[in-house]
């Protein structure tokens, strides 16, 4: 493969490796047209390509089977269109979440997702990895906020789906198809997103020393009381949780919900519920972000919310015993948790623990995905777990969109 004049290209180095696989070349296209030229060129030469945004999720998945080239989206950072009165924005894939939030904050708006590392994470990368944070409790994930996408296909064709209006059912839902597809169906080139107004006030309350059952009861009580938190997250570095509840909106509504929550906590599990001053609230959410990105081993567990109650026994006990200095971040309304820590030095033991946790989660549709793991564990465990029952369809979709299997080959579920 050779570079055309307009394309920035350099030889790949160790620093460009994806899960240990060093690319031969690295491209940094200056715009979407350049990116099309890169993909078109790879189609001619048969080169395999991986896509890199902020590089924060490079530990996700299996090592690529082949990696001739890496396409970095670092120069695709334009805000293509921003219509504040329509509350939509069109951005290139390489724009960081922080940069987007700064731009739309001028109109008192935001993209209602709050994953860790927003200064590094790019919109394209967030789409490709389905990145999210605690506000998913209220606003959903990117699949609920993405309204349009343009993608560069393996053959260099630029295809768009969705549109620029929030309500739109014309054509198949390519935007949702791209969410979580990890660069295996095409390069996310531009993304159109629905924005929300910035809340006027924001308050975080924290209740400490809660068991998993307390958390469950509190969530049920909040639901019964028709409270509408923007986020609920429980952090733990031992058997008990600290539960944070965040309310956002107009002052009257936030104050009233705050005041109703305090007795609810006392009633369901006893104990205090502290309204955090601004600095303490910021520190709490920073700690949340740190736990979400901690550890040489990090597993994302998704299950029915009620299935978490057995913590720290059952499947979760198996995971906890595997880890030294374990930490857990739980989103109790979503049924999603992140376990991280230092795995036992014997990889076989780690592999057995992960397999046993997966087996316990599977009957109710739960899953465990390794977001980070030491090489020893990776050698023995599929980071995705067994392929889902719909795998044949996923394979077919991949084969249609990338018939030569050149986009991030082997990295995704089932070796897609």
């Amino acid at each position: 493969m050779s570079a055309t004049g307009a394309l920035a290209v350099r030889p790949g180095t160790e620093a460009d490796a994806i899960l240990g696989v060093v690319p031969k070349e690295v491209f940094s296209p200056a715009d979407v047209e350049d990116a099309r030229a890169v993909l078109g060129e790879t189609a001619r030469t048969g080169a395999s390509v991986g896509f890199v945004g902020g590089g924060t999720a490079l530990g996700l998945g299996r090592p690529p089977r082949r990696l001739d080239a890496v396409l970095r989206t670092e120069r695709l950072t334009r805000i293509v269109e921003y219509a504040p009165s329509d509350q939509i924005v069109v951005v290139e894939a390489g724009l960081t979440l922080d940069a987007l939030q700064r731009a739309v904050a001028a109109h008192r708006q935001r993209l209602a997702i709050d994953p860790p590392l927003p200064a590094r994470r790019t919109i394209g990368g967030l789409v490709a990895t389905n990145g999210f944070g605690p506000r998913r409790t209220r606003y959903g994930s990117l699949r609920d906020l993405i309204i349009g996408v343009s993608l560069v296909r393996a053959d260099g064709a630029l295809a768009k789906g969705g549109g620029k209006v929030v309500k739109n059912v014309a054509g198949f839902d390519l935007p949702k198809m791209m969410v979580g597809s990890l660069g295996t169906l095409g390069l996310v080139a531009t993304v159109t997103l629905r924005l929300h107004p910035l809340p006027e006030v924001d308050v975080t309350l924290v209740a400490g020393k809660k068991t998993a059952r307390d958390v469950r009861n509190l969530v049920a009580a909040m639901r019964d009381a028709q409270l509408e938190p923007a986020a609920v997250a429980a952090l733990s570095t031992g058997p008990l949780f600290e539960v944070a509840i965040r309310f956002e909106g107009f002052p009257a509504g936030v104050a009233e919900q705050r005041d109703r929550l305090v007795p609810l906590v006392a009633k369901t599990s006893g104990g205090a519920c502290e309204v955090l001053p601004e600095a303490a609230a910021r520190a709490f959410w920073e700690r949340h972000d740190a736990l979400r990105t901690a550890g040489p081993l990090r597993a994302k567990v998704a299950m029915l919310p009620s299935a978490f109650e057995e913590f720290p026994e059952g499947w979760s006990g198996t995971l906890l015993r595997l880890l030294e200095a374990p930490s857990v971040v739980l989103y109790p309304t979503l049924g999603i948790s992140f376990f991280s820590g230092v795995p036992s030095p014997d990889p076989a033991q780690g592999a057995a623990a992960l397999a046993s946790a997966r087996a316990a989660l599977a009957p109710a549709g739960g899953s465990l995905v390794l977001e980070e793991a030491p090489d020893g564990v990776r050698a023995l465990v599929d980071p995705w777990g067994p392929p889902p029952p719909s795998f044949a369809l996923m394979r077919a979709l991949k084969d249609r969109l990338d018939p030569d299997g050149r986009l991030n080959p082997g990295r995704f579920v089932g070796g897609i």
């Binding site: 789906g161 198809m177 009257a252 049924g335 899953s367 719909s390």
Partner: protein, 474 residues
Amino acid sequence: MSALVGAANCVSSPSDLRTYECDGLTSFRVTPSLVVLPASTEEVAAVVRLARELGLAVVARGAGTGLSGGALPVPGGVVVALTRMKKILEVDLENGFLRVQPGVANLDVSRHLAPFGTYYAPDPSSQSVCTIGGNVSENSGGAHCLKYGFTSNHVLGARIVLADGAVVDVGGPALDAPGYDLMGTFVGSEGMLGIVTEVVLRMLRKPQATRTFFATFPSTDEAGNAVSSIIASGVVPAAIEMMDRLAMRAAVAATGLDWPDVGASLLMDVDGPLAEVEHTSRHSVDLARAAGALEIRIPKDENERALMWKGRKSAFAAVGRISPNYIVQDGVIPRSSIAEVLHEIEALSKSAGLRVANVFHAGDGNLHPLVLYDAKVPGQEKAAEELGGAILRLCLRLGGSITGEHGVGAEKAVYMGEMFGEDDLETMHRVRCAFDPERRLNPGKVFPTPRLCGDRPGPYVPHPTEVSGEATRG
């Protein structure tokens, strides 16, 4: 087929088949060769397998309330009507989901959930009749999707019968199953990727309070400005609906409501925690006044509120009171161009010599212009269709969409090429081929030009059987 589902559940007499020759878009009609009404996933799969052996196209159908001809039969094909599959299979309150069969009516889901204080959010106008299966196919919306989203935001999983008769589970009540978001890809695919036989729906806790107001305005300009300033203030209305003079007159004629004869009105809901909605409703009323509202009505009780909504929801059918025939159009514009687009529609309406009543979901810019005509007057039906098309092109010119909730179906396939380019459509077609390489499910819908699924995707090349006329395309 009768061996598979029972003779009583097969419809083949010409007179009975006529019931199925169209959906809510009655101007498109095709009589199918057979209609089968299976009662289980296994029966649906068996029917689809047999259809495949016989080389027949398959069109799935719910209640037939669709407005874009999505359930229009294919000549010589089989219609699989899912109306017998209407069981609610499971309700899991703590985990916030329920599992239903596709033939359950949308409103029956919320009725079933009412005793638990929960509900299913998408509320298309036809919700008392339309089915969940149809909602999944069309990604149905409704008045309240500005705040709560569409069908695709509320479907967690499904059991799907594929074109080859295979049964596959996609998604499920636990979030984020590894792999592609096949569920998200499937919802809104208009019956072309598979037939759902079970659906896992998200349920929501009812909000603590709802506040509604009805405001009248001298014209749609002031009403449009009120919408813009309410949204700009940071309020996210649960619903904000606009009607113009003609639509209000029709609603009054149908329901006897005491609405004044004014240029436009808004009907708005906010919901959520009590203190929040008291603030947002008061604030919104102030903004509506500042934008030039003539009168604000706040319902005294639930009964009055229901009447206001009845007026709005009856507006489509009510237009039948003021015109012998009408076309319900569905297009989307950026919300901020409401006032502009209504002036352009008015100009188009004048030059076509046809009246247009406007009812729409103003918060998300989803227009429903109702083009009034008289089929007995030669040329009027055609002129009405052309006017509808001109309105869609106007939506596209402003950066909008040809459909916000009714779907592309048979009706709007011709406009797809104006909204999407060849590479866009070809990419969507590849998705279709991944699910249904023989293009057996609901052929002829959505895509403007027929395409084959090659063994390897590439530029379109006519298939030899197609050239010889043996195979039909689509």
